[in-house]
Amino acid sequence: MHPILARFERLAAYLASWFTIGILVALVITRQGLSWPEALVLVLPPLLVYAFVCLSAWYVCRAMPLTSGLPALLTASIAAAAFAGGFWMALSQTWIGILESLPALGATTERFREQSPYLLVVAVMLFLLVLSLHYVVLAFEAFRAAEHQQLELQVLSRDAELRALRAQINPHFLYNSLNSISALTSGDPGAARRMCLLLADFLRTTLHMSTLDQISLQDELTLADRFLSIEQVRFGSRLRVERHVDEDTTACRVPPLLLQPLLENAVAHGIAGLVDGGVIRLEIHRDRDRLTIAVENPRDVDAPWPTRGGVGLDNVRRRLAVVFGVNAQMEAVATPGRFRVMMSLPWGTDG
């Protein structure tokens, strides 16, 4: 679709410009001895018709994009301008013919014909102007399309990133769980089966959740419970959990798998490093339009600073940033013997 004809306001602006140009041309012609009304009558009607002829410049632009090279561009422009000039000649001569037939203007028609060469030059110049205007419009539209495509790409890659981030199941968690099952098989087959079922449940839920954009906090808590039950088979009484979850928070909608990486971190870098284990504290509260989640774990005072710790936390932090931007915060505080992660996100429920 023609970019100027496509939108009424563009066409109006285009014709208004031609109107102004017509008045300017008429003003110049009054210096040649014509009166104001005579000049306007001579110039304006054919010029406004000519304005529509010039719109055909768009097809020249389309056939000859800016990348075609200067010689081809010049040739095409000159040919098109010559064609437009011819059109103008036919148009203006017809109009003058009409004016001559009017008895009231009979006396001035000779002076009308004297203006024809000047008007031809003006008409060709105007065509070239419109042609370059079309090139500008076309370039602008191409730029907009590229920008749009860029945005679309960003959205797509964001989606892909989220999917990849959510799909991170720690393989060592799997290997260690399988090792526990292997150990239980002979001594306590019932426990081995329970562990298998827990693990299958955990994997299925994790994979399903990773395809969703949002889940209820209740679902996240259920998954967290499964994870902790599996880890409790490994660590026995070393792993203890204290939950302080406000009941009215469980309906809140949250991105999936936010809590589980924090708990995994608390087990791997806290409990696993302590001979007697310890208590992981999980706190979830609502504060008006904010949901706060905190996970705190003890850690060995002498333990080296975790070098392979940050991955899970970074992952959660990046996902919060992608989903909520500046509207979500997360901070990790390490004190001797303790580690605490807190995050705050916007409260939201269905309906």
């Binding site: 260690n176 292997s182 150990a183 001594g187 696993a272 001979v275 002498d302 080296p304």
Partner: protein, 251 residues
């Protein structure tokens, strides 16, 4: 198969997870050529078991509380062979660097463990010299934040910021910390390699000084430089050591 004349292989199982220990115990239970002499739930217990019970082989987990598997080997590697058992494959190269007999990835089968034990028996039968303690097991380029020193069955953990200086003494080095001396069988060069070069300066052939413990440098009657420490201790500074010290102290 070992014949009836050879004494059983004496094995210590080291893992912080009860179930991981259970599966190892179960795998070796049917093998009369294996005797489990200890089960340890952390690195300290492992060092103690090696000192007191002298097992031939450790079945050793890597990630454990207090001391990890590599730190255990740094302390007792001269006295015992090791098969690592872990869920992590990324330590395999380090494990073979310290001459581990084998490296088992959890979960593993009874057959795989048997193969590792056969290999261990063969290695011990050949009386190959063990790799030697004090071998640095650390990832190169990352200075350690603590020094481990074994004192019989006990392990001392010395934070590096509490070490005043390290002194070479015959086959040992002596770490001086809070008025106490801790002997470790490694060379001063090995100790220097493990410590942060921004904090420790070799001021003498036999001395490595913690800059934080230095108050001033004196010149004695024979025109030799002497480092004076915060506790009043005086250490000799060689000419090359003085050059290193001044280059470090000048901005």
């Amino acid at each position: 198969m070992a014949d009836m004349q050879t004494p059983p292989l004496r094995v210590a199982i080291v893992d912080d997870e009860p179930l991981a220990r259970a599966v190892l115990r179960e795998y070796v239970a049917s093998d009369p050529a294996i005797e489990v002499v200890a089960e340890c739930a952390n690195g300290f217990e492992a060092v103690k078991a090696v000192a007191e019970l002298r097992p031939d082989l450790l079945l050793l987990d890597v990630q454990m509380p207090k001391l990890d598997g590599f730190e255990v080997m740094e302390l007792v590697g001269r006295d015992v062979a090791v098969v690592f058992t872990t869920a992590y494959d990324e330590y395999a190269i380090r494990a073979f660097d310290i001459h581990a007999v084998d490296y088992l990835l959890k979960p593993f089968s009874a057959d795989r463990l048997r193969a590792a034990l056969d290999r261990a028996r063969e290695r011990i039968g050949r009386q190959e010299p063990p790799p030697g303690a004090g071998l640095s097991t650390r990832t190169p380029g990352t200075p350690s934040h603590r020094v481990l020193v074994r004192d019989g069955p006990k392990v001392h953990v010395i934070p590096v910021e509490k070490i005043d200086y390290v002194q070479a003494q015959d086959d040992y080095v002596c770490f001086r910390s809070e008025g106490q001396d801790y002997l470790k069988d490694q060379t001063l060069a090995q100790a220097e390699a493990a410590l942060d070069p921004a904090r420790f300066v070799r001021i003498h052939r036999s001395y490595l000084l913690n800059l934080h413990s230095l108050t001033r440098v004196d010149v004695d009657a024979r025109e030799n430089h002497v480092a004076v420490l915060t506790d009043g201790h005086r250490l000799p500074v060689s000419r090359a050591g003085y050059a290193r010290l001044t280059s470090r102290l000048q901005p």
